[in-house]
Symmetry: C2
Subunit: 704 residues, 2 copies
């Protein structure tokens, strides 16, 4: 079919292209000649629609939906929706599948060979259908299926930082997909396809508004709009959440205070929350950023985060709603090491939160840097459910022009050992509730989604959205496994294509760390917009918004001493963790400058001194990008023209910006180290002054 | 092919779907079995690509490109690019085709039956190719072709009001398609498809930035980005233009003044313009808004518009660039009838502008209202080239949720008689240069284009973009003809579909006039954002931004007396025009309240009094929308599901908003007329207070 645009990326990983392996195609066609899917609930109808579209695309023919059992049939449903499913001996598996999981088995019923997709709930059925379609999209054998799958975390969330005027704070893929002006009456097809995409990876909750919240979202007019979105999402098992502006009782409620212990305030929120549930019976709850970066909060009234969170929790509890209270706090006034502040504020509150409150903790102690150690709050609040917050949008990771696959970053944190209950107390076990017996478990990703046709700007940004969903479902999936299945669905199944792209993806995060912030450097990006490097910047109104605060380069060395000799941030970790990081000889070099101020002449494991190692890493980072360029270019014949060219252009931008990071950081740090860049390396082609004078008044994502 | 999105509208009118009439398909296949298109210029390659894509889609098979003449061949080129074209006896027709036109003939050459697409220039060839594809898309007979076509205006322009942060002033289809951040290195496929769409309708110039201009676009960094766009557009015959911030010499040039008679300032602009041409050798020139709504301009230095425009003109002339100087001016301080101010400022300057300056005049004297009389500047400046500026984006016409086809509005102005040189001195003749012998001729439309997938938000918004191009090429095309060819290309050729949609389109503008501003009402919309009705509004900082200034309703009647008894605005027209408008008995009723303060009891042609007529019109407007809804619903089986549902939802919004306009305007005006809404009409279901209290803090298009 001719088109002006080849593959524009809109379909994400749900492309359902004809299976291009003829043996497999024939196997698939033989295995699924019809579908038996009774039931008319919205989720079952969504499952039916998806199967219709998916099978027609993958098999290249219409597959009939029948009302009687037949050979080579896909039999789909719950014991309640389908007597055929009810009659299958699946109770063991189904009990493991739980409320949202599913069972897929190749079996026989009344002498017919069938594949059953079974679940306890309609949404479980839909998840099973997406899983089955994924098997075919990734060209797996479907002859002897015996799958039982259940999600490891209960709340699997995408958080949008979308403003009501459609700007997106830290958004780099266009503007908000929520067109509030035309809601509730105009339902953009995107809303539906967004829900499909999320359901296909198990996302079951969406926070639609920015954590830097606007109270107007809670007015009657906007709640009607939110309800219209909730109606679109409901069949796909997705609940809607809002961000709660703590001062809303003043701003839209005409009260004089927002004190969480004030009876009028509490009543106002109770009424407001009841009103929300009248519009949206399955409303999920609130995500709240309070007393952080200028946002209002309970501390404005000398109350604690627990006082604030519990006020919401009480009003939400009768409706089964939850509060996600963000631990990303640091005070405007405090001279304390910024990294220590979240722990200092929240650790004492462990056990003080109502049981429908979760504390949402960023993966690291700072703010979504290319590499951070895990947040010390993980492992420090055994009596409190903790959700993890990752950032899919690449605020610090090259916006939407850098290819970086985040699964290795996410996994690094999940696999980190908190030693809360001895060895093996991983962050993953904190999150899935198994370590402390928590029932409220969750994983959230800050959306990298905008109204660009392909949703994420960079075609590979889609992989990070995909990863979040897959890991929230099953944090034991490996990065390679996720990359592999994403590539197959998104680009195709040919071996050189899959192998090469998987390799690119798996190396991409370490490449970025190297060309941006090697060896534990952090927060040395441009001010405000966070675009590009600015390690020299020292003009921010707050000390801890300045790169110089974080790298502390001087004539002796570089790095932030957070040992007992310094800010003693390391005391917030379990002794085993602390010990490893505190000793400069056991501290992994990738975290070195997070924790130590290290002499330029310090000998690294490579035998190079610190300065030479820094040079080595920055140059290696750029080299890795150049390798990715070559790898990508080798795929020209295997990728559709539009996306091939897109990624090629983007890699060229990435290479250019990697050089910019390398040159400007090294030239700047050289003013302290006074040592030469080894002559074997290509010479920076611009001066430090040149880089310092670059200005980006309209860099995207400032939320204006 | 399965897809998550059916027809998403991205392809605009260039869909190239398989011809669904089997007789015609067979005729077309027989007539075009191969293409002979030698040449490798960028425009010829674009023509080749388009033919490849178009023919493959329309004919459902690959058509081969050959290097020798053959029977049933499409022979394409210029006498210079193709010896076969050179050998055809087409010199008469080609001389009529001029620089941009083309000739398409069915003919015979060396005993082969061929269709020749010939032109004097490569861009003429591309235009001819688009015309030929249009013939097939609209299912015309191509057996005896004898087309000679040349554009009637020389500059055919789309003006974007796009800001550097990607907000679009008065944009309702998402945000700017120009991603300045990722330019110049990342070339979005949209830029190419945008150029294709424009070339297909003869648009040959694009102003990419807002008339409320930012000087930064003229900095080196941004000029590189602009040059990258110019490179994309060049093969499609499209020149790029910028808006010129008059105070740029101060803001980015570090001068103390922007006085157009200051030698340093003149030199600064000359250097800047030379620099632009170094980057963009075919740069088109500047569009300038000066001394209007707070923009800087020559009057800041007590100079005239001519002084300002000529400064730019002088610097542009060596490069063949032009200045489009906007006549949309009205002073912040002047108590004069706002409608009179443009004429008052510009008429005395007739003959004072350099010959590469055109004055760009909005179609009417106010600001793109649903209906305005033609601007009195048309017919008043015989020594000055005048371009017309239409507004495609629906600032005052229901944003992107109302279906309104603008061809009737555009044609109404084109057909208006200025009487400049006696009867028949139409605006069209002013514009095409024939009335006053102008060589510099042009027509511009303010873009309704954004980064919504379908470009214009409302699928029918595409028709207005299409119309602008077609009318700029040939202002004699009728509204019906344009509607007909657009529907066929955009939705399909089935007769009930074409007939019904054409009917809807042709009635839509009058419907809107009726439910918004019947009988010559104007400027009674919401303040600032211009969304919805607010005839009661009187709080603007300037009198002439207030609806009450324009409708002047009181206990006696309603309307603005612009006769000799009032502001005498009518004196700016030729006596013949003035006479017709000035006499309340000959003034066409659709312009009545533009020119007269009319008693509520005045008897209208219908026999109803003015109040009753007002009621009648407002109710008729809503009724027309309801008729459109029924008509559209009848097409469910003939339109793809996605666009059918889109338009259905949008018509429901339009109906709701039409009722809002009707009710709130009538309830408000009733407070003056003190007469009842006839009881046979449905009663307003809300009170005036309800409507007055509506607030839209995030209405789109405010450019923030």
């Amino acid at each position: 079919m001719p088109s002006a645009k080849a593959d524009d990326g809109y379909r994400l990983w749900l492309r359902y292209e004809l299976v291009n392996n003829s043996t497999l195609l024939s196997n698939y066609r033989n295995a699924v000649t019809s579908v038996y899917l009774p039931g008319t609930s919205p989720s079952l109808l969504a499952a039916k629609d998806e199967l219709q579209m998916g099978l027609e695309g993958l098999l290249g023919k219409k597959v009939s939906f029948q009302n009687t059992l037949a050979n080579a049939q896909l039999v789909v449903g719950t014991p309640a929706s389908s007597s055929q499913i009810a009659a299958l001996p699946l109770s063991n598996q189904l009990s493991k599948a739980g409320d949202e999981g599913f069972v897929i088995v190749s079996t026989t019923r009344s002498q017919k060979k069938i594949i059953a997709i079974a679940a306890n709930t309609d949404i479980g059925v839909l998840y099973g259908v997406f899983h089955f379609l994924r098997l075919m999209q990734t060209q797996q054998n479907i002859q002897h299926l015996a799958v039982t799958s259940a999600p490891k975390t209960k709340y699997r969330l995408i958080d949008h930082w979308d403003n009501l005027n459609r700007t997106v704070e830290r958004g780099y893929a266009g503007f908000s997909i929520w067109n509030w002006h035309t809601l509730p009456r105009y339902i953009d097809q995107r809303y539906i396809d967004y829900a499909r995409a999320n359901a296909s990876i198990g996302i079951n909750g969406v926070v639609v508004t920015n954590v830097n919240a606007n109270a107007l979202i809670l007015t009657k007019e906007y709640l009607e709009k939110v309800a219209a979105l909730a109606n679109v999402f409901r069949p796909y098992g997705i609940k809607i959440y809002l961000t709660g502006r703590f001062s809303a009782p003043i701003e839209i409620g005409k009260l004089k205070t927002a004190d969480p212990l004030n009876a009028e305030v509490r009543q106002w929120w109770k009424n407001k929350i009841d009103e929300i549930y009248t519009n949206i019976p399955d409303f999920g709850g609130f995500l709240i950023k309070a007393n952080s970066e200028g946002q209002p909060g309970p501390q404005d009234y000398k109350r604690t985060h627990a006082d604030g969170a519990n006020m919401f929790a009480e009003a939400l509890a009768p409706h089964k709603g939850i509060v996600m209270w963000r631990a990303f706090v640091y005070s405007n006034e405090s001279p304390e090491d910024r990294l220590k502040q979240a722990y200092a504020e929240f650790k004492p509150l462990d056990g003080k939160f109502n049981n429908n409150v979760a504390i949402q903790v960023k993966n690291g102690p700072l703010d979504f840097q290319p590499r951070e150690p895990f947040s010390p709050l993980f492992g420090a609040m055994p009596k409190t459910p903790l959700f993890i917050e990752y950032q899919l949008t690449q605020e610090y990771l090259g916006f939407s022009t850098h290819l970086v696959f985040m699964a290795p970053l996410f996994k690094e944190v999940l696999n980190a050992d908190t030693y809360e209950k001895g060895k093996g107390s991983t962050v993953a076990k904190v999150l899935d509730g198994s370590l402390d017996g928590q029932a409220l478990t969750g994983m959230a990703g800050v959306a990298n989604i905008g109204n660009d046709i392909n949703w994420t700007g960079h075609p590979f940004g889609q992989a990070n959205w995909y990863t979040l969903g897959r890991l929230a479902w099953d944090h034991q999936l490996s990065s390679a496994q996720i990359a592999n299945e994403w590539v197959r669905q998104t680009f195709g199944n040919s071996k050189p294509l899959v192998d090469t792209v998987e390799k690119m993806m798996l190396s991409s995060r370490e490449a970025m760390v190297n060309y941006m912030t090697p060896l534990g450097l952090h927060h040395i990006m441009g001010y405000g917009h966070h675009y590009g490097p600015a390690p020299w910047f020292d003009k921010a109104s707050r000390a801890d918004w300045n790169p110089v605060y974080f790298h502390k380069a001087d004539s002796i060395g570089i790095g932030f001493d957070r040992t007992a000799n310094g800010t003693n941030y390391l005391s917030q970790y379990a002794p085993e963790v602390r010990k490893q990081f505190e000793d400069i000889n056991t501290c992994p070099e990738e975290y070195l400058l997070w924790f130590h101020h290290v002499s330029w002449k310090h000998t690294m494991k490579s035998g190079r001194n610190l300065w030479e190692e820094l040079c080595y890493r920055y140059y290696a980072g750029v080299d890795s990008v150049r390798v990715m360029q070559k790898e990508w270019n080798s795929l020209e014949k295997l990728v559709d023209k539009q996306r091939f060219n897109q990624v090629k252009m983007l890699l060229a931008v990435q290479e250019k910006e990697a050089v910019w990071w390398r040159n400007s950081c090294l030239l700047y740090f050289q003013t302290f180290s006074k040592m030469p860049i080894p002559p074997s390396y290509e010479k920076p082609d611009q001066t430090l002054e040149y880089y310092k004078n670059l200005n980006f008044p309209f860099a995207p994502g400032n939320g204006r």
